[in-house]
Each structure stands twice: as C-alpha cells, then as structure tokens.
C-alpha cells in the first residue's frame, strides 16, 4: 500500500512537470508575441494613457496607473484593464492544473511516509517548488505578475528535474533528530520564505533589465522590446520590495525557530554550524537589501542587485550547502 502511494506520488509529480513544461511554452509564446506586437500597438497605447489617467483621476506620483504603463494591453481601454492574451490565459490555467497535480503528489508522499513530506532533499524540493507555485498563484490574484510565468515555471521545472533525477529516495522514517514539531514549522516556513524570495528575485531581475532599458534608451544591449510591455522599473522595484519583505519576515522566523529547535536538539541555540551560517548570511544580505532601499544612492538598481545576490545565496544554501557541506544539518537524506 505504502509503495503504491509512493508511486502515485512520483507519477503525479512527473505529470505536474509535464504540465508545467506546457505552461512554460505558453508563457514563452506570450512573451514572444508581446515583442512582435508591440510595434503595432505603440500607436494605440498613447491615447490609452490619457484615458487611463483620466479615469483613475489621481496623480500617481509614485505608482503610475497600471493601465498607462502596460502599453499594449492598455490599448483595450477603460473597462477591463489589460486585455488578456490567450496564450497567457492558457499558461495560467496550465500552471493551476500542474499545481493541483503536484499538490496531490506531495500530499500522497506525506501520507505514504506518515509524516510531513519535507524531511530530505527530494521532499524539500517537491514541497518547496509547490510553495513557489502556490505563492505565485496567490500573488497573481492580487497583482498581474503573469509576465513572470516563464521564469517561475522554468525555475520550478529545473528544480523538480534536478531533484527527481538526483535526489529521489524512497520513503524512509524520520531519524530521531528530525522527529520534532519544529521540523514541521521551521522547514515549512523556510520554504515559504524561499518561495517569496524567488518571486522577489525574479522581479528584481526584470527591474534591472527594465532600468537598463530606461536609462540607456537606444542602446541595443539587453534591450528586449518586450520590456516595453512590462511595468516600469519603479513599479517593479516596489513590487519586488513588497514581496521580498514578506520573504524576509518568514526568514527571520525561520532563523528564530531554527535556534529554538537547535536548543532542544543539540543543547545550544546557535553554534555557527554551516547551515546556520548560511541562514544568517542570507538574513543579513536581505537586511542589507532593505537598508539599501532606504539609503540615498542605493535605491533602484543597486538594491535590486542585493536582492539577486540574496536569492543566489538562498539557492546556494539549498542546493550546495545541503548536499556538499558537512555539518550537523546532514539531513539531505542522500
């Protein structure tokens, strides 16, 4: 029984991957289409800005109305906001389907193991990517970040691919050191934080490209036309900031919960174990990012770089420290 559940679980994860791959293609097609359509829409976009500004009736000092800044989409005008591209809608629909499949897969894994499904590298990966997708979809309900679809589905596909191929392990029980309520809390919140950092990092990355386009108009280097269809760099920066600070709060909690657990399990709350060191480094980098946004001369691109460095450290902590570094947190289960 347990084995079959386990097999269903991996089968569902594979199916989710296939669906994500299709979603990735749809999102990529949408981006391609944006680049090619933009010429045609440039004319239409100009009046749309006026309409948008009039209707919103406010002086968007910091946040330009979305309608105005999304150019091509804004052309459709006043009522429904951005027009929905069909490929984009398919992309989102597929992502939702993939997410549901993966969700069931992860839950089955938990049932098969009779514990939470986040206790080794493979399980961290399936749960972590599930959360990345979940956070992405939830944020989509409030903000139109569908242009990140390619990045998010791509990232999740790579992570799932690497972990199913390299890290797959059969269900095994928890070693005594992991058998604690803190596993449930600490690891889950860490994964949640990671999901927000992933989204924030993506936004910061696009912000950097966008900024380059805005400041170096005319230069060909990294000047993708489709950037014209995306929000401007100030708006991207604000979005990235809001998402990254949520990630930061979760990370702060992870750090504290980890210390409490370490105290229970190892008799000291902090011992500069490799994993602790990296959690700390990530925390400090993001604290730096938040500071940078409040420091003259560091807003904009410089702080965005810090967000990217922070996310790189998160990936490093997960993919490299877990697997190759030695320390007390030798729980990769490999």
């Amino acid at each position: 029984m347990m084995e079959t559940l386990e097999q269903y679980s991996i089968l569902l994860v594979y199916s989710a991957m296939a669906i994500y791959a299709l979603a990735f293609i749809s999102f990529a097609l949408d981006l391609a289409k944006r680049s090619s359509q933009i010429k045609a829409d440039e004319v239409a976009a100009a009046p749309a800005e006026l309409v948008g500004a009039f209707v919103s009736g406010r002086s968007g000092v910091t946040d330009a109305p979305v309608v105005a800044s999304t150019g091509a989409a804004g052309a459709s005008g006043v009522d429904a906001g951005p027009k929905r591209s069909v490929t984009l809608r398919i992309g989102v629909a597929l992502t939702v389907i993939g997410f549901l499949l993966q969700l069931v897969g992860v839950v089955l894994r938990g049932i098969a193991a009779e514990r939470v499904p986040w206790a080794n590298m493979y399980e961290f990966s399936i749960t972590g990517t599930l959360l990345i997708m979940g956070v992405f979809l939830v944020v989509l309900m409030r903000q139109d970040l569908r242009f990140l679809g390619t990045f998010i589905t791509g990232l999740v596909l790579i992570l799932l691919g690497v972990s199913t191929v390299n890290y797959y392990v059969a269900v095994v029980p928890l070693p005594p050191a992991l058998d604690s309520a803190w596993l449930v809390i600490h690891v889950f919140v860490a994964s949640l934080g990671t999901a927000f950092f992933a989204l924030g990092g993506a936004l910061s990355g696009i912000q950097l490209l966008q900024n380059r386009r805005e400041t170096a108009k005319g230069s060909k280097f990294l000047n993708f036309r489709l950037l014209d269809t995306l929000p401007d760099s100030v708006r991207l920066e604000n979005l990235a900031y809001r998402i990254n600070i949520v990630g930061f709060v979760f990370w702060t909690f992870t750090l504290i919960a980890g210390a409490v657990w370490a105290e229970r399990a190892w008799g000291r709350y902090w011992g500069w174990d490799t994993k602790e060191v990296w959690t700390f480094i990530i925390w400090v980098i993001y604290a730096g990012y938040i500071h940078a946004r409040a420091t003259k001369g560091w807003r904009g691109s410089r702080s965005a770089w810090l967000a990217l460095i922070g996310f790189a450290a998160v990936l490093f902590n997960f993919g490299v420290v877990n697997v190759f570094f030695k320390g007390l947190h030798a729980y990769s289960g490999l």
Binding site: G57, G60, P176, A177, V249, Y269, G271, V284, G288
Partner: protein, 575 residues
Amino acid sequence: MSRPSDHYDSPSPAPESAREAGSASITQPKLGVVGWLRWFWRQLSSMRTALFLLLLLALAAVPGSLVPQRSSDPNGVTQYFVDNPTLAPILDSVQMFAVYSSVWFSSIYLLLFISLVGCVIPRTKHHFDALRSAPPKTPARLNRLGGFITRQYAFAEPVEAGPSTGSGNERNAGSAAILESARSILKKSGYRVRTYQDARSTSVSAERGYARETGNLVFHTALVGILITVGIGGGFGYAGQRVVVEGQTFVNTLLAFDSFNPGRFFSDDTLTPFTLRLDEFDATYETQNLDAFGQPIDYTAHVTTSEDGDEADGEVKVNSPLKIGGSDVYLLGNGYAPTLTVKNADGTVVFTDSVPFLPQDANLTSLGVVKITDGLPEQVGMIGFFYPTQDVSSTGAYFSSFPEAEYPVVTLNVYTGDLGLNEGVPTSVYSLATDKMTQLTGGQTGVDSIELKPGETAQLPNGMGSVTLDGIKRFASFDIHRDPTQLWVLVFAILVLGGLLTSLFIPRRRVWVKLVENAEGTGVTLEYAGLARGDDPRLDDAVAELADKHIASLPSAQAATPSPEITGAKTPDDA
C-alpha cells in the same frame, strides 16, 4: 524623523551641501578635535555605513562555512591540518578556524552595533517628540501629493459666505460640519488630527502609523539586546559532556565531565549538586521498511536522577532534554560498551570495565581501546572492534550489518610496550599510540585477532593471561548545559520579530482634507491627498476610500432640491 542624513527620505539639500562643503574645505582648521569626532560619529551612524557594515558582515561570515571551525568541528580542524600542512598554519594565523570569535569578525559586528546605537538613540528621542506633537501644517498645494482627489459639495441652500473681510476666517456652519465629519472619520481610523486654517481654506491634517517607527526602533534595540545577552549569557553558563554507561552514575561536579567549557564568568559553585544514573538505554531501529532497514527510529535514555535527596525517574531523548538543577541534559550520542575482564597468568583480575566503543558507521561498527598499565609483565594496549551484528564480506573482512546487538562480536588486537601514560601528556582514552609498542595479534603479525562473543574467554598471547567478554552494555553521551540568559535571548528575538512586522507592514501616512468655499457660498471644493512615509502601497486607495466615506457621511438628503448635491467630479492631473 531624525533619520540618518543619507536616508532617502531625509531632506537632502542641507546635509548634502554640508558634506560637499566639508570635503572642499578639508583643511579648515576650525574643525578641531570635537568637530572631527562629530564628523566621524555622523559617518559611523549613517545609513551608508550601516549598509556597508551589513554587507561586510555577510561576506565575513562566509569563510567560516568553508573551513572547519574549532568551535563546531574540532576534529575537522585537526584533519585539515593533516590534509593541508602548508595552508593550514597560514589560515590559522588569520583566525580562519575560529572565524566567529576572530578579531576581524568581532570588529565588524561591534562597529555595526555601535553604528546601530548611534542611529537609534537620536531617532528614539525624535520619535518621542513626534509622538507628542501635532500633525504638521497642511501644505498649500495638495495636488502634487499622493492620491490627490477633489470633490464638489453643494449646500442645500446658498449660505451667506463669511463677512467679506477677505480673510475668510469666518467659516459658515455648513463648512464647519463638513470639516468636523472629516475629523471624526479620520480619528476613528486611528489618525491623529489637527485643524488648520489659512486665508483661502480650512483643512484637517492627519497622521497615522507612528507604530511603524516604534516597531523599527524596537527591532533595532532588540538586536542590541540579543547581542548583549548572548555576550553575557555565554559568560555565565557552561557546557560539559559526559559518557555514561548503563548502570553508571554521573555526579555533577567539575571532575566528572569528560570535557567542559565554562563561560568567562563561570565559577564552580554554580554547578548544582545532582546525580544522574543511566538505568537503561533503548534504541529502536527500522526493520519493516527495507529502504530504511537499520535506520534509527528512536533513542531513549531511562535515567534516575537525584537532587537534594529526591530521587526521580526521568527520560532523555533527542529533541527532548531533561531539566535538572537549573541545567539541561541533552542526549547527544550513544553506542556500545563491551564489558571486558583481563586476568593475569595467575588468574588475578587486573582490569574489568565496560569500555565505551565509538561508533564508526551507521550499523555501529565501533572502535574502542583498552589500556592495562599494571598487573601484567608489560603494559598492554588493545584496540578493539565491536560488531553488533557481525557479518563477513566476500573478502573475509568483518562488518556489522545491523545496529542492534543481534550477533555481537568483539575483536581485539593486542599490543605490548609503553602506553605513554607516564609522560604527563594527556592522552585520549579512545586512541592508542602504537608507535612505541609491539603488535602481538592481528594485522601483519600472522596471529589472528582475539575474537570474543559474550561469555567467551580467550588467552592473551605469550601466556600473559586471559581476556573475557562478560557482556555488552550501551552507553549514552550527555551534554549538560546551563545558559541563564537563554530566555532573554528568546524574548529579544520575539521583540525583533514583532518590531519587524510592525515596522514593515503598518503604513505610516499623512492625509489632508482641505475645504475651499466657493465665492458664491453655494458649496465647497473638497481636496483630499496623502503622503506616504515609507513604503505604502495602499496610499492612493486609502485617500480614495477616505473621500468616499467622507462624502457619504455628509447630509446629502439635507436638501429637498432635486439637483445633485454631490458631484464626485474627477479632475485630471494638472501637475
């Protein structure tokens, strides 16, 4: 807000030009020592310095994860010296094996915290003042501010405009009611409000979200709290380790520890006298799931403790320490301790003890050492292997195939010669220096290792005597630990989190409602605008909501006239 002058929200011209002037006139003699100190202090407590130090701290923490640290992995350090004989001493000279207590790492975080204090103190003072002062005067022009909206409101019947003194000081009753309504709405939503009046208009100025700054200050102050308690707490506590074999009793005194790390301010008399006997150690291993066969499921040390004469049964598990006498007892490790008895040729017992063997692999193949100093013709050392469930590989080597003692076997290699115990150099009980000794069994000697199952006796070589394996016991290694400030660290950590949440998610904003009577006295123009103080994604919405709520609160049905009294005219941005 008395933030550092290079905070992006600070008014820029003054400090900016001051700095310019400062750098241009760097040779100015009148700066003086005090001037320089002040300048230095301002630099140290600037946002830029804080940012720089934060990033430096992150960077400086990296090497400690690449190179083993004495504090967390002393054996790793020893091994590193063996593997990298040239590099290791160089790294050692720059404290790479003790990064987190090194001079350079400490200087970074101390500077950072000095900067933090320098930043927080003036802000706290300023915030206290701000908490007690009224919202600032309404700006003359609201239309450049966030979420600017205007609405027209027509009185039911034309009212006499104030006496045409031109001052507009006299508000008519209708206007006063409108203003009062705005005031009370704002007050109810947690704003602090103040009414202002100028030549053309009357207005309500409101501010909310002081908790944002409070949270920020709590956050930063709590960080200092953590640093101080960790620094001091480490000083008063201690941590000691001790291996206890089933049946043995540990007495909480300095001498009873195998290793002991006292804090700086530790004194012996803080060790509360208690005893702890290991009655039984239970280990459960997986046997059903073949993918995890032999994996540990649970470790439990059943103990009897005694404190002030009160005996009590207790349990120590991984993730579940035992509290006793103000200390915590943690279960760190476990293994097997074969009980060996050695007799000399006359049959006199010269050694009998349960010797803890250190586990070498997941199936608890274990390595132990027996040292017999007296009673035999020569000093004898034995290196033993213990296999809880002995198995033989295709090459004939022994290994353990399961961690439980299903088929336990001990093998012993016997050495004679100088044990090196008389040189006054402390030696580990878990290792044997064989360089001054002669091997008699096992290895290259051509004589088989001694092999014993429980209850068996074997003869030592050269007729020296015999060795018996009386039985197998388990041992547990405990970490005994006291940190009196631990709770405070937790309290500060919670304050950090609470401060962070408040500071990041409570919007601090100012909003204004301005009322301008039209010349005819038939109505008023209402202006609404806001100003974000810090990140505030909802500012525009909040202003719009305020406007809607305010208009809705006004007595629209006041007039029986059919004409629309309220027009939510929307003016395009004229900026």
